[in-house]
Symmetry: C2
Subunit: 205 residues, 2 copies
């Protein structure tokens, strides 16, 4: 627990959490590193080693109690709470994200939506009124939101990212197909379907 946890390990924890959450919903009580291994395609030794960096959560001969491990992981990843998210961009992708039902039971909820297109500002997506990006910095600051999702065209992404940083955002999930430039204390994750597709075409004939 003292030594820093490698990024690559942190990146696997959400996968463990997701698998455990499914098992818990299926009404299961116990699992093992081997079962997780089969479900996730990650070796059992690796799963045990990853978890052991944070504590001893299992029992020899028995395995892991699903609900217990689930809670431990939620605590480690700090999703034993609901994080508020600001969404920027209310186009096709932004709207789909805003309507997505899968956030709440995994620790997140969208609480504000921004766009710069006057023809959509003021309209509703579910319970939210789309606000102007002019209000973005102040709105995010006063609501003390720390996480944002960016679903604007590539051409505007850096500019919006700059505003988000100014507003105090510390984590950005970027759907625009462009690398963002942000200070060291701001984390960025990228979602670009084409990157994944191109990675797979390499292996096609």
């Amino acid at each position: 627990m003292e030594r820093a946890i490698p990024d690559i390990v942190v990146g696997r924890l959400p996968h463990y959490l997701r698998a455990l959450q499914h098992m818990s919903l299926e009404g299961r009580r116990l699992t093992s590193s081997q079962e997780l291994s089969e479900r996730l395609g990650i070796s059992a030794a690796q799963i045990r080693k990853d978890l052991s960096l944070f504590g001893e959560f299992g029992k020899q001969g028995t395995g892991y109690q699903i609900d217990y491990l689930l809670n431990q992981l939620r605590q480690i990843l700090k999703v034993n709470q609901i994080w508020d998210i600001a969404l920027v961009g209310a186009g096709d992708m932004g709207s789909a994200i805003a309507r997505y039902q899968g956030f709440t039971d995994r620790g997140f909820r969208v609480v504000m939506i921004f766009d710069n297109d006057p023809s959509v500002i003021g309209s509703q997506i579910g319970p939210f009124t789309i606000q102007s990006t002019d209000e973005l910095v102040v709105a995010i600051q006063s609501a003390d939101v720390r996480i944002a999702m960016l679903a604007v065209p590539a051409a505007n992404a850096q500019e919006v990212a700059d505003m988000l940083v100014q507003a105090g955002i510390k984590s950005i999930l970027n759907y625009a197909p462009i690398s963002l430039n942000v200070p060291d204390d701001v984390h960025v994750q990228y979602i670009d379907p084409v990157i994944h597709l191109q990675r797979m075409t390499y292996y096609l004939e």
Copy 2:
């Protein structure tokens, strides 16, 4: 070129390609491993080494010719052609994907859309008529499509994946928050925004 290329290297190539494509659009002619490094947050030595696995594309003292390297990478990743994609799921996310304009100039296009909801089957998204999943296997087989995007609820994802495999699909981009079980010769890539978000909350206070 003889030895197998590590997966991790293949995974970086699309990022190089994307950056180069931007530079080319900006009208630039030349770049260097150092410039790419700054734009991508990947060390210059690593970029040079990755590229050197496929050939010698640069010139000492000068750097890389953007358009030349671009074409080389397109060939390596096999996106010097347009790949047809089958999209399964015409809900919020599926519709947003179907309307996304960013595929074509990066090597892909959606050519068919399926859903199992009778109330949407037959309706149009852009130029496409949504087909029943009953027709999926035959339609994909006869059109010889090799890549699919999966945007259905988690509960149906495995079942649809099985159909896709049966239809001869070799690459699946899965938007459902669940690990898929497929034969070894089928590649799967995952897009789950919550995984990325949870990875970032670890670093928040």
